[in-house]
């Protein structure tokens, strides 16, 4: 009779070990075999003179090859769809912890950049890095309950593997291709925005704003100049953002001799719909023009210290 509970304990211990091994195996395989730009960053394989961070307005707007041609500086685009500062802050922090080449760090200010998503975007890209405190803290801000369980409860992380994970496992990541153009993902699309949108206030959270300040300070302390960029928005869409001026002021407060702000929301290209495929996103043609402009503005900063 005494043997039976012992069996149960032994069974549970072996199960625990098995779950741990499976979890570790998946983490390692994902970390080593899936060569997306996130994994490469966490493996300290990405470094450039100009590093671009942000959401889709970074991802589809900044062409590193054009920036390199214009400025002569190497560039890499770490932007990703639907991620606001609170989420990609961990990428910046991790990058700053190892970088050797960075001179300019660009933060593309999406309208909702200082707000918070209800859900983590593409969490599978981060799960194998939860032991990294930057990643854990960033994701914990968005979905605290889930991320806490994923880190501390054995096996829980396995239950979060989703569609994207299986795709990555079976055919490799669909974002492999981003590495061929230094993280940039141009969108060769025509304008497809139909109907009318209602005016709205951009999301904002004071705590996230403080986090942005802290990250900027870390970069500046390392001798890196930070450039906050408001990418172009089609003028019709721009008018819908009710608190845009207030938001710009909040960013402007952060500027100093090492922190610049470049605002393209009132650029002439914002009047031309052929450069956009929706209110907030440039198509390939628009992104090429914009990348040239940002390259020239970086040259101005290099030459004069002003944009």
């Amino acid at each position: 009779m005494k043997k039976k509970p012992l069996f149960f304990i032994l069974f549970s211990a072996v199960l625990f070990l098995l779950v741990y091994l499976v979890q570790t195996g998946i983490d390692r395989s994902y970390n080593k075999n899936v060569s997306n730009k996130f994994t490469r960053l966490f493996n300290h394989k990405i470094d450039a003179n100009v590093m671009i961070f942000g959401s889709s307005v970074a991802y589809v707007h900044f062409d590193p090859s054009i920036i390199k041609n214009v400025t002569g500086l190497s560039a890499y685009n770490m932007g990703w769809d639907g991620t606001f500062f609170v989420q990609y802050n961990c990428l910046i922090k991790e990058y700053l912890s190892y970088e050797k080449q960075c001179k300019y760090l660009i933060i593309a200010a999406d309208i909702d950049n200082l707000g918070k998503n209800e859900l983590i975007t593409r969490p599978d890209l981060y799960y194998s890095h939860l032991s990294n405190s930057y990643v854990y803290n960033s994701l914990h801000e968005i979905e605290p309950d889930k991320i806490w369980k994923a880190k501390y409860i054995p096996g829980y992380k396995l239950t979060l593997l989703n569609k994207a994970f299986y795709n990555d496992l079976f055919i490799g990541s669909r974002i492999h291709k981003t590495d061929t153009s230094n993280g940039y993902e141009p969108q060769n699309l025509k304008w497809d925005k139909t109907g009318t949108a209602k005016p709205f206030n951009a999301r904002y959270e004071e705590r996230i704003y403080t986090q942005l300040q802290e990250t900027i300070n870390t970069a500046v302390k390392k001798g890196i100049k930070v450039i906050i960029v408001f990418p172009p928005m089609y003028e019709e869409g721009y008018r819908l953002v009710l608190n845009m001026d207030w938001l710009k002021e909040k960013y402007k407060v952060l500027t100093n001799k090492n922190v610049y702000m470049i605002d393209y929301t009132t650029d002439t290209m914002c009047k031309n719909r052929s450069y956009f495929y929706n209110y907030g996103h440039l198509n390939t043609g628009g992104a090429s023009i914009f990348s040239t402009k940002i390259g020239n503005d970086i040259n101005n900063i290099i030459a004069t210290g002003h944009n």
Binding site: V19, V22, T159, K163, Y166
Partner: protein, 490 residues
Amino acid sequence: MLFNSFQFLLFFPIVTIIYFLLPYKLRWVHLLVASCIFYMAFVPIYILILLATIIIDYIAGIMIENAEGRRRRAFLILSLVANIGVLVIFKYYNFFAININTLADASKAGFSIPLLKILLPIGLSFHTFQAMSYTLEVYRDNQKAERHFGIYALYVMFYPQLVAGPIERPQNLLDQFHAKHDFSYDNCRDGIRLMIWGFFKKIVIADRLAIIVNNVYNDPRHFNGVALTIATLFFAFQVYCDFSGYTDIARGAAKTMGYDLMLNFNRPFASKSVTEIWRRWHISLSTWFFDYLFNPLVASLRKWGRWAIVFGLLFTFFLSGLWHGANWKYIIWGSVYGVALVYEFLTKNFRKKIFSVLPPTVNKTISIFLTFSFFVLASVFFRGKSVKDALYIFAHLFKGWKSVCSVSGIKSVITAIGGNDTVYGSFNVVIGFLLIAFLEIIQFRTKDTSPENIVRNSSSIVKWSYYYFLIIAIFVIGAYDNQEFIYFQF
């Protein structure tokens, strides 16, 4: 609280451990409180409805036992009216009102019945039927009225089977609450085994198949016959694994504390006739309908001869459909079964003669295939979003099969059912078929014993490996997008 939730993962061991730590006299209080917490995790306020019906049925039970003649009958009717009244208000009122309003509109009668803005209390049909079986059994003198209010409340609210059955009978469950259950390692082990098998069926098979099924059935007009057929076949296994998985978890959770809940499923897809399906599928509901509706009805109409049975079957399955949901699609689904059972009843001798010329194995194989096909096709009504959708699916089930003749055709079908994602579609289709094969092999091998016991007589290594496989599969292949149990809505 869902069985497949993190909360339950904490709730279950805590409740079970405390249960055994407490003195025997306090255990019912503990189980009742735990059951209240379990139920209130959904919509807390609805516990008042449950409490009201519990009080009525508790009093009715004692009054029925103490009364005689007409008074006895009156108390039974009072209890039935209270239970059915709750069901009508919360589940059927809006359905009837919408249909009456549609008719009134069409006939320009110039009136409309107001609709109620209320949510359906979770598991309402299950616990009201369980409560009714109590007063009916007391009325029939098959069960003594329960004098202990707490124990009676626990009979209705026992958390493992509160929201989706099995719909217990008082003779089986009430006495168990009075009995002393000492801790038993064997009960614990058997209960946990059953739960693991239930979780595997629910999280790994049902919820993974649901990805394809939901994608296709949410918008069937975007899919050809191949996709519709795969989704329909998958749904048959989804609903089986979903519901029987729930039952296994419920029975397992009860078993760890020493309670035996009734068997609710017994390899229904091995049925050789539609009649047999209902002896193997949702046994607690089908026996409820036969014990309390069909048999008394047929007995009261015995002057009609065999037509009493025909009417009884049609009426019982019409109501069985309505029990599942206040929607025409469920009524049609139930009625289709009613018609099939009538057909089997009326042609029994004829079919026996015809099929007797075939070798028994061929006879059995054909019968199982035809019965299973009927189950799959009937489930189109069950799963379709509406009768219109179901009819569309029937009309298009055999269209577009030419696409399977080419690789590009197969690829486009898989891409479509994978939600415009070929890899994910292929993964889910292949895994889906493999899981179905695994399930069927296990069920075939275990025949009439419980599938979770397939390795009972094997060596420890085989036994452990099997359970490790099931548990790791639950973690890795399981789908965790908050899939509720299908039968919770009833």
